[in-house]
Symmetry: C2
Subunit: 138 residues, 2 copies
Amino acid sequence: MQLTPQIRLTTQRQIILEELEKVTSHPTANEVYDMVRKRLPRIGLGTVYRNLELMADAGIILKLEVGGTQKRFDAVTTPHYHIRCISCGKVDDIELPVIEDINKTAAAISHYQVLGHHIEFSGVCSSCNCPEQNTLVN
Amino acid sequence: MQLTPQIRLTTQRQIILEELEKVTSHPTANEVYDMVRKRLPRIGLGTVYRNLELMADAGIILKLEVGGTQKRFDAVTTPHYHIRCISCGKVDDIELPVIEDINKTAAAISHYQVLGHHIEFSGVCSSCNCPEQNTLVN
DNA sequence: TTATGTGCAAAACATTTGCAGGAGT
DNA sequence: ACTCCTGCAAATGTTTTGCACATAA
């Protein structure tokens, strides 16, 4: 018989979470790695991936499966929507009220047990839009 | 001086599009490759990727940046939303009317030039939900 | 003390790309 | 003919994993 595994509070986990809480930029795993490495130079990228995954599973943080090639992470777990810049790839929160009843509507018309939804807007951010500095980022 | 490059109608392109139009399952590039290979055994995976990308850029097909590790493709280009099974990864269309004015609302409250939006529901599909066959797929 | 976690490096995937030969127009 | 396109294979980028050592509880 198997007991529930313990989840230990390690330095690495504390610092990963602290660094993620410092920013609102929805960093990729690699960006979190860079941030954390300034405080823990010997941390491995694998550890960062493992712990971001672990915290996302535990509901402490959010794993964002937005467009683009990399997953992004968010320390804010209250439901909210996102907007992504198709030019530079930046992801921002968008302060649109969450549509409460849409999950029920979806459940009624589909054969799924509906668990949630996410809205991702796409557009061009103000930096990329700016005619002056525009040598077209990315 | 550079002329507009021509886009040629090749056998590969025709068959990729035909195969994609045959299904409603939003296949990944690799799944399209498998489908196409039955008719064109010597086609390369790179060709499939290149042409799916090309057709998506041209607006002939849709590239879906949904959750999961792979991009998916859809021959239906009229706006519609999707639902993804968190157990088996399947992606289905969901027949929810498209919210027309939400882009304007988003533009009003953000600093982005808003170009579009997509809603992705997540849930458990009827196959994965079925108590009988459930040895937990994936 | 011992199960869990880490660093490191290799492996596993998904996707892109360089290039020489092939094919559409 | 002259581009553009393809197949192939190698390269790239992201994420996962195996393993010996380290460490929290």
